[in-house]
Symmetry: C2
Subunit: 264 residues, 2 copies
């Protein structure tokens, strides 16, 4: 097994550059950190793993998860782990994984499950949490608009907790094209507005899961262009005095409310 003990090693420097969007796109790769998520990728998408880097501690628990196609394992020391890490306390295990590709084909035909669309969402914790919640709620995937944060930003990846291996996560260049494709599949398009002139979520009835839910920017909400495209714009009633809800909280309540009504 290859060992790397210097933080100045060229391969480590190159891997570290994957923390920048530009290099992720150039290499078609991103960096995973932490035993939980490494286990998820090895179980769900071993073919996506190019390389695993780990301190000696994890070698024994790692072995049963390795596949013929899951890439080489490199042993690193604590110092190298600290350099690669994006957290205060790293557990010392990393993987270089391929960015998932997608095409119009892969964005259709997901057993008629719903989609979450994140337009202009900027906060990585919010974005990652919404992907994780969409996974729990049984969604087909989460589509990021061109103006939203990169879904493979390391903070988003940390907060997705491996959900990117369970559902489609894709940033599309042309959101209108995606919406049009889904509309042609008879998907109903829901926007969200913080406005009690919109439709109260309690008034929506669904007969199946063919819908998509669009969430907007943390500060500015959904763009008026997308609100116009929507079949209905939904709002969550505020029973108390808070002015608004956090976007990831609102998305979660809406996703569960819709899924529970979709006769699952």
């Amino acid at each position: 097994m290859q060992k790397i003990e210097s933080v100045k090693n060229d391969q480590i420097k190159k891997i570290n550059k994957l923390k920048q969007k530009k290099y992720r796109q150039q290499e078609g790769q991103y960096l995973l950190e932490g035993w939980h998520v490494i286990k998820e990728v090895l179980v769900n998408r071993p073919e996506d793993v190019e390389l695993i880097l780990t301190v000696p501690d994890h070698l024994a628990e790692l072995r049963p998860f390795l596949k013929a196609n899951s890439g080489a394992v490199i042993e690193i020391n604590e110092r190298v782990a600290t350099v690669l890490s994006d957290t205060v306390h790293t557990d010392g295990i990393f993987a270089v994984a391929q960015l998932p590709g997608f095409s119009d084909e892969t964005l259709l035909n997901h057993e008629n499950k719903p989609w979450l669309v994140l337009d202009q969402v900027q906060d990585p914790g919010n974005a990652g949490t919404m992907v994780r919640t969409a996974d729990a709620a049984g969604f087909a995937g989460v589509i990021f608009s061109a103006g939203a944060i990169d879904p493979f930003n390391s903070k988003v990846v940390r907060s997705m907790q491996g959900s990117q291996f369970h559902l489609v996560v894709a940033q599309v260049a042309d959101l209108n094209h995606f919406l049009e494709m889904q509309r042609q599949q008879n998907y109903r398009i829901f926007g969200t507005l913080v406005d009690n002139q919109a439709t109260d979520i309690r008034q929506i009835t669904l007969s199946d899961q063919r819908y998509l839910l669009m969430m907007g920017n943390e500060a500015h909400g959904l763009s008026s262009e997308l609100a116009t495209i929507a079949d209905d714009n939904l709002y969550l009633p505020i029973f108390g005095q808070a002015e608004s809800l956090n976007v990831a909280i609102a998305a979660a309540v809406l996703m569960y409310q819709l899924q529970m009504q979709a006769d699952l």
Copy 2:
């Protein structure tokens, strides 16, 4: 108007100590930061404000909100603001506010609205977000157990966004006593478990809002002691492959689901 221009000023040093729990309890005060939350306290609880500290920029917008009982205003400069601030980009306005007191009396008689109980919740962002969501969902208040994070920790305060002025926020020494008091008011006690042997939230029907919902620690969930006390332990169905939901997300979905069923 008093001006403070030195970061070594004794009063500034003393105010800065309110970032520590020990001094908050000793002084019965905590620190607020940011124009949005200062406005909230001046509108909702001017009598709680001991002192306002602000850079000159906010003086004009502040004036119409000041009340006879809302404490003195001290002008500070940017350097003092940076020392007091808990954020990367401060807007330079702060207040010293009284910690809200509470008694058995104040924890009863809230128009029969529901309560959220946070047992052993540790993450400040989660705790603050749950207070904000409970406010939106029309809850009477949020009760923190003795082992949970201090609700007046500056990160919790930031994430509550002023909701502490809309509903009761209290950390109780004896949670069992609180639960017993509410039970005597015919409140139904719901626990939460990540376990599909518990009661699916969709099976609950409520005829009024007299219930309380207990959420547990991020990693370990609700303690078995509290789960035993509960009338029902609820779980949220996982329709996809995520192992679990973030505690603030789960709390939000459950609170809204219960409130929408409570015939509001």
